[in-house]
Symmetry: C2
Subunit: 198 residues, 2 copies
DNA sequence: GAAAATCGTCTAATATATTAAACGCATGGC
DNA sequence: GCCATGCGTTTAATATATTAGACGATTTTC
């Protein structure tokens, strides 16, 4: 009784809530998952994810929730998550670290200029071939660190970099990450994460 | 190939993303709309809204977006909106206003103790039968005011109150609201709203 | 190179959401 | 009383989302 009900749509309910597919695709890329991997985690089929990413269907809330649980990520986060603003400054070369302290104590500030959070410092050692695993745990908060000795291969949201002594990193802990020592010698890094993690 | 696919569900995809129906119903109540009114605004049927509110179906993103557009409210807001924390202190009787100032200037602080925002003060006059209309505009931010002269009938999220001289109000501007002078004399109120509104 | 694995896509069959129209119930005139 | 209006719900028909399995293309492995 209301509207003339525009039924001449070829692309499903896409015109209403667009960008969903694009967002999902971009997110899946950040997490480095294939459609099938994500589908298995979510408990739905890969075909469904394919169709959703192409914006050829408008997923139900329950389906979208299942998918996001595979990351994991809440619905609120999904609609809030800023895909572009997350690319700023993941890697910090040694000479770009802000050096502070003095008088017997020397500190190098990583991620200076970013939104501050209370961080927790850890001292990590990696034996040759040491690896945090491919599972790529993700937890809320932020995470950063400095390589003290040796070299470490760091993967964050698909980006792979080998960091040497003095190099550093900083990223959103929700992005999947993996540390791996690909050298024959030991590696030592100082890592920092947000309090609620540990 | 993944899970045994639990198909023995009676309530659709409810078990996954629950609370959607409850949230929608509560929101619709706050906005004082019937299922049919909201359906007309959203461009879908009242039956669909009924089923969604009962959690008997899991709406598609496009449908949910249409529904929320009827308020209006974004998807991100929908999943973030705190229904309970919004009930605190809508009406402030005259004797509960915090009085500050002195030395020739007298101010009465409204909404003291709530999360502060930069506010913009307005001076409004309502002729007899003056009315902001039933359309009930909603805009982001917060809004408050004091009745200076006469009486004003204020409707906020379905709650109706007649405020007299000295009484005041404070509410989230996203909630639909309406001012109406139901007396034979003029009414004057000092209203305040967040900067981005005007 | 060829076989095997994995990628994203597509299609028919099925499950689910949405529609359109009725229902029962309450309320407000007259 | 009775009729008209509005409410939320339900039901069969229809539109849409999701599944299961295949496809061609690309990469991996031997």
């Amino acid at each position: 009784m209301a509207q003339p009900s525009t039924k001449t749509n070829t692309t499903a309910g896409t015109q209403a809530a667009a960008k969903i597919g694009t967002r999902l695709k971009a997110l899946r890329g950040l997490y480095g998952l294939s459609q099938r991997e994500l589908a298995n985690r979510a408990g739905i089929t890969n075909g469904a994810i394919s169709l959703i990413e192409q914006d050829r269907v408008s997923p139900s809330i329950s389906s979208l929730k299942k998918v996001l649980d595979g990351f994991p990520m809440s619905l609120a986060e999904f609609f809030t998550f800023d895909l572009h603003h997350h690319n700023n400054e993941v890697f910090y070369p040694a000479d770009q670290l802000k050096e502070i302290g003095g008088g017997g104590v020397s500190l190098r500030m990583v991620g200076h200029g970013r939104s501050r959070l209370k961080l927790q410092i850890l001292h990590e050692r990696y034996q040759p071939r040491g690896d945090t695993g491919k599972t790529m745990l993700s937890h809320p908060g932020e995470e950063g660190g400095v390589v003290v000795k040796g070299q470490i291969e760091l993967t964050v949201a698909g980006q792979i970099r080998v960091l040497s002594e003095g190099d550093a990193y900083y990223f959103d802990s929700r992005l999947p990450h993996r540390f791996r020592n690909v050298t024959d010698g030991p590696c030592m890094i100082i890592s920092v994460s947000t309090p609620p993690t540990f």
